[in-house]
């Protein structure tokens, strides 16, 4: 190899010279992160971001299965207008638990803490996240939060809905509420620490050559997410703390009986919980950008539009929380402003969708399972988005607020968006994580079940919501019976889809075909390591000379095995944000 130099931003001030060595990239892994340390104890005490990511993935899958099982129970109860098989109080506790678990234990940590933990350092060419021990700590904080929440079940449980609105939540004499608030409080810190870790990692641990304009869009999305986590989650922590004090001590800030204001609680709660929906969905956007380029074999269309729209969503997302409160009795001024700002947050989301579709134009499109999920994502998430516009419109929201329309809307966004993106990412990176391929035909069948099951479950909910069916109802009036029954049938199909996924993923672990380092021929840096990756991700600090979506460059140029030569200006360019460098290679 003679001189390999990058042309990006050649006008920048002083290009940095790096002595670069070339290695023969390993094709077959020797010492992978899975074989490096073995045994349960090594896993539980590991500070390796990949293992922690997998532990998160396992936990998230566990809670998803549990909360999903609750959802099936709820849907079954709603088969008939009156009691089907459980009591009203049980039903109320189950839907609360379903919501709280799905939000706090599944959606919030799913993509950032599970997939993000695994992929982010690899996409940056780093050996680990900035604070590996903190990373492990945040996993255990998450586990403790979960334990506290389960302890609440042993203490009468809680039936407040996941929103914990006062004064219902502060007046209910159930020890369960105190336990669950404690659990959510603790859980918040897990989220905050993950966010802190990611921001620092992205700023300080990028490999030479990864300038801000070569950052994978997944990293941009995780960056935006981390910012929201750090800015919003502490407000949830203080809100939940105040709520617990309200319940234990009656301090009176939120309880009208003591002179407080229940609507103020809603402001505090939604100041976190609205941005939190972007904590859940924005990392999904990142995955979609990665998958859609790989399977179109084409440069992303509108790199900066997609990267910056993530940041725009993160910012505007903080200004719109009051659209959950249009009927709450907040002032007319606030309502008007919140409604107006709500529409602004729809625009960057639309921009992303248009850019993704434009990326497909004249691509080389391969409909592998991850790509199939991207298509499902765009289909479902668009419906979620358009119905969001409906709910942002003031007069219409008055009619639709707190009905099944809202339930359907946020399931389309959260499940049709986040979870489908998670599935896309899981299938996409599964070979990297495990070194095994899954059964492609079965995967497509499962995707079909999920797509059909999902729509059968939630489309009827739009109709019955608009017809007036309120949410969180144990009994309902007869006219809604057909919609509920269709929805229940859909939920069974959906569950079946997930069972198939569980089966073939487990199967692939033991019997799956070996995956090469780069089964999709992706240009992403994470694919230039072995599958599964080396204990330190890359055997040497990689040097990056092309962007992650430079599909017009021959793939050989991504597999040169360029690495920093030791003792020759060995230094990350992380702090050097100008993004210009010239790499000089010497053959090894």
């Amino acid at each position: 190899m003679a001189n390999v130099s990058t042309s990006a931003n050649s006008a920048a001030s002083t290009p940095m010279k790096l002595k670069v060595k070339q290695f023969q990239p390993a094709q077959t892994p020797t010492n992978t992160y899975l074989t490096d340390e073995k045994g349960v104890w090594a896993w539980l005490t590991t500070v390796d971001h990949k293992k922690i990511g997998l532990m998160y993935l396992g936990s998230v899958a566990f809670f998803f299965a549990l909360a999903g099982f609750l959802a099936i129970a709820l849907r079954t109860e709603l088969w008939t207008p009156a009691k089907t098989f459980i009591e009203a109080d049980t039903y109320n506790q189950l839907f609360t638990l379903h919501g709280a678990m799905m939000v706090f234990f599944v959606l919030v940590p799913s993509i950032p803490a599970a997939l993000g933990n695994f992929i982010l350092p690899m996409q940056l060419g780093a050996k680990d996240v900035a604070f590996p021990r903190l990373n492990l700590a945040s996993f255990y904080i998450y586990v403790f939060g979960a334990i506290f929440t389960f302890l609440s079940l042993a203490n009468n449980g809680f039936d407040t809905g996941w929103t914990f609105y006062t004064p219902y939540s502060s007046d209910t004499n159930s020890a369960g509420i105190i336990w669950v608030t404690l659990g959510v409080f603790i859980l918040g810190f897990s989220s905050i620490l993950t966010g802190t870790n990611f921001i620092t990692t992205i700023h300080k641990l990028r490999a030479p050559g990864i300038s801000w304009d070569r950052l994978p869009l997944n990293v941009w999305a995780l960056y935006a997410t981390s910012i929201i986590q750090v800015l919003a989650t502490p407000v949830l922590a203080i809100t939940i703390l105040l709520l617990a004090m309200e319940n234990i001590l009656d301090i009176g800030i939120f309880d009208p009986a003591l002179g407080g204001d229940p609507v103020l609680y809603q402001h505090f709660f939604w100041f976190y919980s609205h941005p939190a929906v972007y904590i859940m969905i924005v990392p999904g956007f990142g995955i979609i950008s990665e998958v859609i380029t790989t399977f179109s074999k084409k440069t992303i269309f509108g790199y900066w539009a997609i990267a910056l729209s993530s940041l725009a969503i993160a910012f505007i997302g903080f200004l719109v929380w009051g659209h959950h409160m249009f009927t709450s009795g907040q002032s007319a001024v606030a309502t008007t402003i919140f409604s107006f700002l709500t529409f602004l947050v729809g625009i960057p989301t639309g921009i992303k969708i248009f850019n993704w579709v434009a990326t497909l134009y004249r691509g080389s499109i391969s409909m592998k399972t991850p790509m199939l999920y991207v298509f499902i994502f765009i289909f479902l998430f668009s419906i979620g988005g358009f119905t969001g516009i409906m709910l942002g419109a003031l007069s219409v929201d008055i009619h639709l607020h707190d009905t099944y329309y809202v339930v359907a809307h946020f399931h389309y966004v959260m499940m049709g968006g986040t979870l489908i993106a998670l599935l896309a990412g899981l299938h996409y990176w599964w070979p990297k994580m495990t070194g095994k391929m899954y059964n492609e035909p079965l995967a497509k069948i499962a995707a079909g079940f999920i797509f059909i099951g999902f729509n059968v479950t939630f489309l009827p909910q739009f109709i019955m919501g608009a017809q007036g069916m309120p949410r969180r109802y144990y009994n309902y009036i007869d006219q809604f019976t057909p919609f509920h029954q269709t929805s229940t049938i859909g939920s069974y199909i959906l569950a079946l889809g997930f069972l198939i996924i569980l089966y073939y993923l487990a199967h692939s672990l033991f019997k799956g075909k070996k995956a090469g380092p780069n089964p999709w021929n992706s240009r992403g840096l994470e694919w230039q390591s072995t599958s599964p990756p080396d204990f330190h991700n890359f055997s040497h600090t990689p040097v990056v000379i092309h962007g992650p979506y430079d599909y017009h460059q021959p793939i050989e140029e991504f597999q040169l095995g360029l690495a920093v030569e030791h003792g020759h200006g060995e230094k990350y360019l992380a702090a050097d944000a100008t993004g210009s460098e010239a790499a000089e290679t010497t053959s090894a």
Binding site: A88, N92, T160, G161, Y165, P167, Y168, D171, P262, V263, S296, K297, K298, T299, F301, G302, Y303, W304, A305, T327, G329, A332, T335, F343, L344, I347, G350, I351, I353, F354, V357, Y361, R362, G363, S364, I365, F375, I378, F379, S382, T387, I389, M390, A393, L394, V396, D397, I398, H399, D402, T403, A466, Q467, G468, P470, R471, R472, Y473, N475, H552
Partner: protein, 313 residues
Amino acid sequence: MGRLFDFMLPENKSPLTADSTDGLFHFINEASLVLFLGVVLAMIYFAIRYKRKSEDDKTPVITHNNTLEITWSVIPLLITFVVFGWGYSGWLNLKTVPDDAYEIHVTGFKWNWSVNYENGAQTINEIHVPKGTPIKLVMQSRDVLHSFFVPEYRVKHDVLPNRYTYVWFQAEEAGESQVFCTEYCGTSHSNMLAKVIVHEPDDFKTWLDENGGTPSGSPVEQGEKLVSLQGCQTCHSVDGSDLIGPSFKGIWGRDRNLADGSSVTVDENYIRESILYPGEKIAEGYQNVMTPYEGRISDEEITNIIEYLKTID
């Protein structure tokens, strides 16, 4: 009429409050459908048209196109401005109560709607209104948050314990409309239903006159009426079936086991205490969920209720 998404909305029985909402609902649905089909069909078309032929396919380098970016940012932005303006004007209409509106007071409490009229008439879970007149409901809650929702009028507002909120509507036909509570409020949230009953103006006048004035009848009759108006039967049955609280049937004079292990005889003082301060002595096997009636009910009314309870065997 005859719009594509008509099947989604319930009948419109209060055009003055519902028309603007419905128009916007249809507009957003139809505009969304066009955009949605555009996106999805383009996506599917590309997937077929540019299907991968071989692993060596070359793709063009199309990094961005500012004209396109601006187009697909500005056009949706303009559409959303229209939606905002339309929604805002409709909402202003919902907030602006006509000056000549007829006022009725509604109180939400776990899990009933109590309704008071100008002449002292009182109903429970039924709101009687004349047709063709704007009606203003002044609402408050006695305990937790509730929300008053009539789908057929497209009106909804939360009902709060510490201040008054209101909705207005004008029903144009005699008949009934369903009322839901849409803010989660505990065990029987889904049973906190009511009906708006729309009368011809003359019928309403007659109804109001018949039900107004001071309560009359024997203590037992008055007690029975009170028990029904206060919604006691939502939680306490009179036929012995077990609801959220103990049944009234055969309660009088019986010994009752309490949650703390002691027992008490059901007499005047126990019933009085249980109405005013329900948290003091909880019956075994039941939760402390009843709202205290201290300050809301007179001694005479309690006496009447006691007389009535004596009669339920």
